[in-house]
Symmetry: D2
Subunit: 351 residues, 4 copies
């Protein structure tokens, strides 16, 4: 089945949706399309924010015609100006509906699939189950890949809904930040029916260096959530250990060196050290600007918490980590990189 897929690419900031076995995308589309792209199915890309923008560009570089969409029209402009290389459905003319029905792949930046499509889902922020009266439809036979990080249980729901419409759903959240998005070195963790993985891999490979098949729908999310929970725990642990060591008289650089040659070594200590002055080129060297925001980490830990509660899994450190990041959001750290937890633990107000 995947073998018969003519689509060559489709990427996903958050989700993508490739129309498979579909007819040529219609006269208007064909007219704009350059020859070199004739053989590739256009890929829709929805959500062109910090992550989605560079991801979409990497798809372009691999020769995929794009149909871009973003709730902020300005975000599409840069792509429109790229001329023939990108097939732009003017948003005012075709709108989101057409994008969903025509494009062979859509990358959802940070816009949630169910927000776009009205497929029912639980809104994490509002906690409410929403159902809009009119549901948008997706093209039959299309392959939809959701690259946002959401509750695995919601991924399963979405998969059922998409299946009812005759399409296929896969979850493929990413690891790696804006830098990896730009260099095309993201890691995608993919959940879905195994025979569709080859098709997904073809597209995701344009944007990431690792595309890992995780199992049934939802397992991509599961892998992402587990990784980020461990990341948060390691980062706080590194911050606590570094802070304690400094107060006990150790030089931070030296302590980092020791940890990194010992059993305390972790990504947060050897690649993304949270203590200013220990490493260059990381957020802690730049007042915790850039990187992976505290708010986003708090969100992911909320998802981990939900999944743990649902599956009755004890997560002692995971849940305390969740509270710490929650607290940081309330105390002015929401926009800083999540490694600012070192600063949060260390900083004392002048009294």
């Amino acid at each position: 089945m995947a073998a018969s897929l003519r689509l060559r690419g489709a990427a996903s900031g958050l989700r993508y949706w490739a129309c498979r076995r579909q007819q040529p995308a219609g006269a208007r589309l064909a007219a704009v399309c350059s020859r070199s792209m004739a053989s590739k199915t256009p890929v829709g890309f929805i959500g062109l924010g910090n992550m989605g923008n560079p991801m979409a560009k990497n798809l372009m570089k691999h020769g995929y015609p794009l149909i871009v969409y973003d709730v902020f029209p300005e975000a599409c402009k840069e792509f429109q100006e790229a001329g023939e290389q990108v097939i732009i459905y003017a948003i005012r003319i075709l709108g989101l509906e057409s994008c969903l029905m025509v494009a062979s792949a859509i990358v959802f930046g940070y816009v949630k699939l169910y927000e776009i499509t009205d497929i029912p889902g639980r809104y994490r922020d509002g906690a409410a189950v929403e159902r809009k009266a009119t549901e948008r439809r997706v093209k039959k036979g299309s392959l939809l890949i959701d690259s946002s990080t959401i509750d695995p249980a919601v991924s399963k729901e979405l998969a059922k809904e998409v299946e009812k419409m005759g399409a296929v759903f896969m979850d493929a959240p990413v690891s790696g930040g804006v830098g990896a998005a730009r260099s095309g070195n993201l890691t995608f963790m993919v959940g879905g029916v195994e025979e569709e993985f080859a098709a997904a891999q073809q597209l995701l490979g344009c944007m990431g260096s690792n595309v890992v098949y995780c199992g049934a729908v939802g397992t991509g999310q599961a892998a992402k959530i587990c990784n980020n929970m461990l990341l948060a725990i390691s980062m706080i642990g590194t911050s606590e250990a570094m802070n304690l060591g400094i107060r006990l008289g150790l030089d931070p650089k030296l302590l980092a060196k020791i940890l990194n040659m010992s059993s305390g070594r972790c990504w947060s200590s050897d690649t993304y050290n949270p203590v200013p002055g220990v490493m260059d080129g990381v957020p802690s060297a730049n007042n915790y600007q850039g990187g992976f925001g505290t708010t986003l980490m708090a969100k992911d830990l909320g998802l981990a918490q939900d999944s743990a509660t649902s599956t009755k899994t004890p997560i002692f450190l995971g849940s305390v980590a969740h509270q710490i990041y929650r607290m940081m959001c309330a105390k002015g750290y929401s926009k800083k990189d999540f490694s600012a937890v070192f600063q949060f633990l260390r900083e004392e107000e002048s009294l």
Copy 2:
């Protein structure tokens, strides 16, 4: 000063004590000593347990005559049988006193320095400050290196006491387990006066591949405690993440692979994975036998907790990790490797 030191080696399971600038160790000693060793000062080694035994052997391999001592006389036998290569002061004849006064280096296995020498110190278990009436004396000019893991504050006290006796004290706790002790690849974190470090390095280098100078007395302990706290946090974090992932439908090996290529990577996930079946040659592959015992981890976390309380350092995850290992000790895990926390979190009694 260190340059004038004639001693060439002296190792430390827990602590070592090198007599510097001392006279030849007396007639009896000289008589037993082989020629090839004439130029090296004998090293005392106290404490010949799981760690001390291989450490002492590595000192022997580097040509150091040893004066061994252990509260269990049988532990010395193996060394006695090594004949000329080891200079054995028959314990029954000379006893501990002589060992302390004659040997140029003593490795304290897991016997505490203050237990041996009656130097006052806080007993962690009893929390009481003890002072025995008669204090054993140590040789003037000797260099004492303590390789056990204790409260940095106690190291500082010990250093003062040792200084009063005209000797020098350094703390040099180790990282790396029995395997590293055997292969001579331990990491030593050394605290003490900088000009004495060269002498310490000469000895510790026989037993470890990394000998790191950390700063003033107590900073070796500080580095060790910080590392082990981070280790405990990472191990529990890895166990929580792996357990959650498994319950969400992920294959453990696959999940470990994903974590190890992502930001969740840590020593506990990539070198010492706690989930049975994921890695070979680690305690989790052998029912959590061997390795670093849960009791010892609980002890080290107690030290971290004490240090954090003293220095008013918040350690949210460190203190919860402490409670978890404390709990495990009470629930039958005390003799298992500390990676058994995965089993503790996962295991359900059949009800």
Copy 3:
């Protein structure tokens, strides 16, 4: 509107649903009804478990004809045998549909409203949002009171659905256990439109000594969840303090006395002490049998956790308490009273 309500009572183990302004319940019903009850509208009561059974009986004592239902038919038998005092719609004949359409009040024991009615809702245990194809309808003008403990966000959803059917929904979870259910001394925390509260109070007052209006729909649940979270925290806190005191040499009874005359005093220490031998007539005096099960506490803490995550509220102790009860469920304590956390913390396996 509430004034025109002819219904006099309707109770709720978990939820109740009073049909207001309805026609006499039909010929068959009328025929069984005794004269003394002619003036009171029959009340449906669904869910006749440990809580529902005594609650329903208290409604009967106040003269309300009952229409009982339970997934286990045997649970209804006791009521059928009560003869004329209870109006039983034979389950085989009328079934649940009739119960919902005819009775003026239904008490839902521990059966969830949305399980009964197919109103969509999130199942806490499965985390999935379910929608059954055919939705049962409820009588227009009826008042439905839900006495189960669920996520306040779900209560709000349910209220919307019920409103669409032309009925009114209130949440009214209970505090107090089986004992209070028997003696009619439950506390009901009621959320819903204020003008309907008088009607609810009339019914709930038959089963509880405190019927508190909390505010809009969902606030009853909110109050319940907050209380139970604080209860869990206090219970664990009491257990930790009692255990620590005992290990420091204090007599448990004496320590309890001191706490209860000091600022550590709480319901868990002065009314429900978790240490065997301190109080009589509490679960700790009876091997933690009876009382409020550990599983239920774990469930309620899961709801608190969900609500806190949704509202971005930091709950450090609440989330650790959640993990502890989660852990206890896995370690053989699920059926014991939640005060068994003392035993969990204290008990050491013989090694």
Copy 4:
């Protein structure tokens, strides 16, 4: 022995020390002493701060001549001006030495016994075991009662030292704040040899309404520490529950009312509610001024942590509570009442 005690009273802000069976306090003392007091042995009172000042005054009211001392001479002035009713040893003239040797009772405000007397002890803040060269001596046969909150293990050490000097030591920490100190309604938890308790009770009864014998030396401290740990846990729990409830739409006053009639009820919810506007006359009604300082709570939780570590007692919530108060101290809450944890959890910086 206690029967032969002529001393009638002696109180203790932190510690008190009654000289028993002593000779009349010397010529100078006698000269100042009024007739009405001739029959009562003078009581030394050291430490006249917020707690010590009203405690000493209550002793005066019961007719005890006082010998007061404070590191700040001004603190004694008020007592000097009280004229004949108080026997003042001019600090400049007699100094601390005389106070210790002559007075029959000394109340130590917040000055540590071992700071005053050079009895060795562990300084919590520095974590170091200190021994000063010259030790001050205490009168033989005197009864010393320590009312400060310290590590029970240190109390035991102090008791041994005092015993060596031929005196008797009891620990008697207090519960109840400044208000209770003024009204003479403190609770004293007393540890020491049982036959000396009657003597202690006589004195402490002047300052407290509850004087409870707890057992051997150190158990008074143990009881205090356990109470305060439970208090901290309940206070944080109350704050989390109130904050969650408010965010879920509940009125704070109503929620407090519900908690207080339910199983969540505790001293922190019904007597010392941390939410502004819920109660009058508590620190939360006065911007968290007065009351029991956050720093002191952090200190007591550190003691609980130490005791738990020493006795290998798991205290999950106690240790997290410790970290929270530690954090608050660093974030500007150190001088506020400990109920300000509500504000800490709730307050959001304007971003």
